[in-house]
């Protein structure tokens, strides 16, 4: 192993950690006055890191030259694809934050620093080449996330969200670690390639327990049913920009990590875990769809929507083929745009005093009071429901196509049937906005940055997005190929 090559491969991580440390010093000396400057610099660092990882994706990097530090870290096209999504959504959650926190006089200089470190941890997660890297990346992201969830200190709900997330997250980490120790005990190695080679003769019962525990820990992190109970409470209680962050970047990171572990380390043993993933995927789709129906808080509704979407993404994992992995990546990219747009639209719902409106009946008649916002939100809801002219349909289409190609026809049919249930509550929001008597609650002015991001997301998910479909699919294919190359 060549140290200089390894250090070159982790350039984005170096950029983010140095930026984080320097900005932490700036925060310590200038205090909260400098939070706007620190936010701008943090966004610049995230965008710079995204540019640093882009060449590996465009060149389709794979194979031994992408592996750093004795295979503990992989900087291949798959990691680059996920990192670009992570860095951009982290940057977006920094851009939308000041307008929210300033209303509570709670904008603090540590917010961008914590988001930077969380993004660093997520980058390490999707680049993990062994179980220890996996755990360290995961904990780096989770610790920052616990603090971010409780960031709005005067608000009790925020403290509750932070505490709940911390306790359940620590439990899930414990389960994950237990699974990892079983796998280490039965294979004698922590590296994914080593585990794959050691398990080539078949999976012993002990190792199978290890796989199950690892899957449980990861299912908690991606909030898949039956480990989803924390999601609505945390998403509702956390400050909205933080919820935006939780619903986008960590989802990409945790799903990318799950793909790496399952397809790299246990790829040859797919038959052993496929039925678990099939169950988790279908249960997430159904519970996510049914749970959302009774919600009256739009953040809780979006939380169930993310559970539902994770189910669709996991269908791509269940088929365990390169097409499935590629479909997952395409879906993830579209999901990030839809969720980002959805939460930014929620941030733009303010009453005349500028207080944030979260309750769904207050949206009644939004099409007459704020037609542009209502149109944007309606398009995002239609897209989340997977209604054809919008780009959200394409994500579901590629996932189901991968399932059908791999002969998982029953899975695809059940998924399509369950997506109809999901469409109900998305369309209910549209109906409330367009056909109910105006409630005249949402009147406040929106921040210019919120408008820009909402417009960008809506253009991406509009039928114009299909112009990108071929390009996005090509990149996802390259990324999936690099994931399977390691086998």
């Amino acid at each position: 192993m060549d140290w200089s090559q390894s250090l070159r491969l982790i350039a984005p991580e170096e950029t983010l950690s140095i930026a984080g440390l320097v900005l932490l010093l700036v925060a310590a000396w200038s205090g909260d006055k400098a939070s706007r400057l620190i936010s701008i610099l943090a966004v610049a660092a995230l965008v710079a890191a995204a540019f640093l990882v882009a060449p590996a994706l465009c060149a389709g990097a794979m194979g031994p030259e992408t592996s750093a530090f004795f295979g503990q870290f992989r900087a291949d096209a798959f990691a680059s694809f996920a990192k670009i999504l992570i860095y951009l959504s982290a940057a977006a959650s920094l851009v939308i934050a000041p307008a929210f926190f300033e209303r509570f006089k709670a904008m603090r200089a540590e917010y961008p620093v914590l988001v930077l470190f969380a993004a660093l941890g997520m980058g390490i997660m999707v680049s993990a080449g062994d179980l220890v890297t996996l755990y360290i990346g995961l904990e780096m992201n989770s610790l920052a996330a616990y603090v971010l969830a409780a960031f709005l200190r005067p608000d009790d709900r925020s403290a509750e969200a932070g505490l709940k997330y911390f306790v359940l997250g620590a439990l899930a980490s414990g389960i994950l670690l237990f699974g990892m120790s079983l796998i280490y005990g039965f294979t004698g190695t922590v590296s994914f390639t080593g585990i794959n080679a050691a398990l080539a003769g078949g999976l012993s019962h002990g190792a199978l327990f290890g796989v199950v525990f690892i899957l449980v820990g990861l299912a908690f992190k991606v909030s898949a049913v039956p480990f989803h109970m924390w999601t609505p409470d945390v998403y509702e209680g956390a400050p909205t920009p933080v919820t935006t962050f939780f619903a986008t970047a960590p989802k990409v990171a945790a799903l990318g990590l799950t793909m790496r572990v399952m397809l790299d380390a246990f790829g040859d043993q797919a038959a052993a875990w496929q039925q678990i993933v099939v169950f988790i995927a279908l249960a997430s789709i159904v519970v996510g769809a049914l749970g959302a129906i009774g919600q009256s808080n739009i953040k809780r509704l979006m939380a169930y929507s993310s559970i539902n979407n994770v189910g669709f993404i996991l269908i791509g994992l269940a088929v365990a083929t390169p097409q499935g992995a590629s479909a997952m990546l395409v879906y993830l990219a579209i999901y990030v745009a839809m969720t980002l747009g959805g939460f930014v639209a929620v941030l733009m719902l303010k009453d005349e005093n500028g207080a944030f409106v979260e309750n769904i009946p207050s949206l009644a008649g939004l099409s007459r009071t704020r037609p542009a916002l209502a149109l944007g939100l309606a398009m995002i809801m239609f897209s989340l429901a997977g209604i054809p002219p919008l780009f959200g349909f394409w994500g579901k289409f590629v996932v189901f196509q991968a399932a059908v190609q791999a002969d998982f026809i029953a899975l695809a049919a059940l998924g399509i049937a369950a997506s109809v249930i999901g469409a109900f509550y998305y369309i209910k929001i549209v109906k409330i906005m367009y056909f109910d008597e105006p409630a005249d609650v949402v009147k406040g002015e929106s921040d210019i940055w919120h408008k820009i991001i909402l417009v960008a997301c809506v253009v991406f998910i509009s039928p114009l997005g299909y112009l990108l479909a071929k390009w996005l699919g090509g990149l996802a294919d390259v990324a999936a190929a690099s994931l399977f190359f390691a086998l």
Binding site: L21, V113, I136
Partner: protein, 205 residues
């Protein structure tokens, strides 16, 4: 022979004190049993020849973490007078525990002198390089092969520190801090005033 005897002693005491830790109704007793469990785990580590990990267990867990636990437990509302009540009655038991601990130490050292237990031969990167002590081997791995993860773990600790400060530090507006520059630059003529009070009358301040 001494190995097998020491192993069963340490193992039984670890499991037993671990069980009592969670079964005990008194939190102070729980922590004390936990310390005993850590001690015996350290003994097991000595037996397999991992003396560095044994030392870490004693220093980090028994020394720091358990004492920290004890402080936290003492902040709970516990009636210490009631705890002390049975001192004379339980004195023989205390002596017995002390003797067991002493015997354990003697056994542990004896077993260590007799050489480590062979629990399978480590291979690959798991094997200790020839001519290296445990500490050297751990150091070489930690600062060499696993340097990246070591540094990343450092960042995690930093995040934990930032988080603790962000969540607990409150800027109070009613605290008047010391301004050293202002204090030093204050001159006597600004601060003192000569008055010549008349007899029988007070001074206006």
């Amino acid at each position: 022979m001494i190995h097998v005897f020491a192993f069963y002693l340490f193992a039984v005491l670890t499991v037993g004190s671990g069980a009592i830790t969670i079964l005990s109704r008194n939190p102070v007793h729980s922590v004390l049993w936990l310390i005993l469990a850590f001690f015996n785990a350290a003994g097991l580590m000595v037996l397999v020849g991992a003396e560095f990990i044994a030392m870490l267990l004693v220093i980090v867990y028994v020394g720091a973490v358990a004492v920290l636990f004890l402080f936290v437990v003492m902040m709970l509302n516990i009636d210490f007078a009631e705890l002390r009540a049975g001192f004379i009655k339980n004195f023989p038991l205390g002596v017995l525990v002390a003797v067991v601990l002493l015997a354990e130490m003697v056994l542990g050292i004896g077993a260590y002198r007799a050489g480590a237990m062979e629990l399978g031969t480590p291979d690959g990167i798991g094997a200790t390089p020839a001519g290296m002590t445990n500490i050297e081997a751990i150091g070489a791995l930690l600062y060499g092969r696993y340097l990246f993860l070591f540094e990343a773990a450092g960042i995690i600790l930093l995040i934990a520190m930032i988080g603790a400060i962000v969540l607990t530090l409150r800027q109070r507006s009613d605290v008047r801090g010391q301004n050293i520059g202002k204090q030093i630059s204050r001159r006597p003529q600004d601060a003192t005033r000569n008055v010549n009070p008349e007899v029988g009358k007070g001074v206006t301040l």
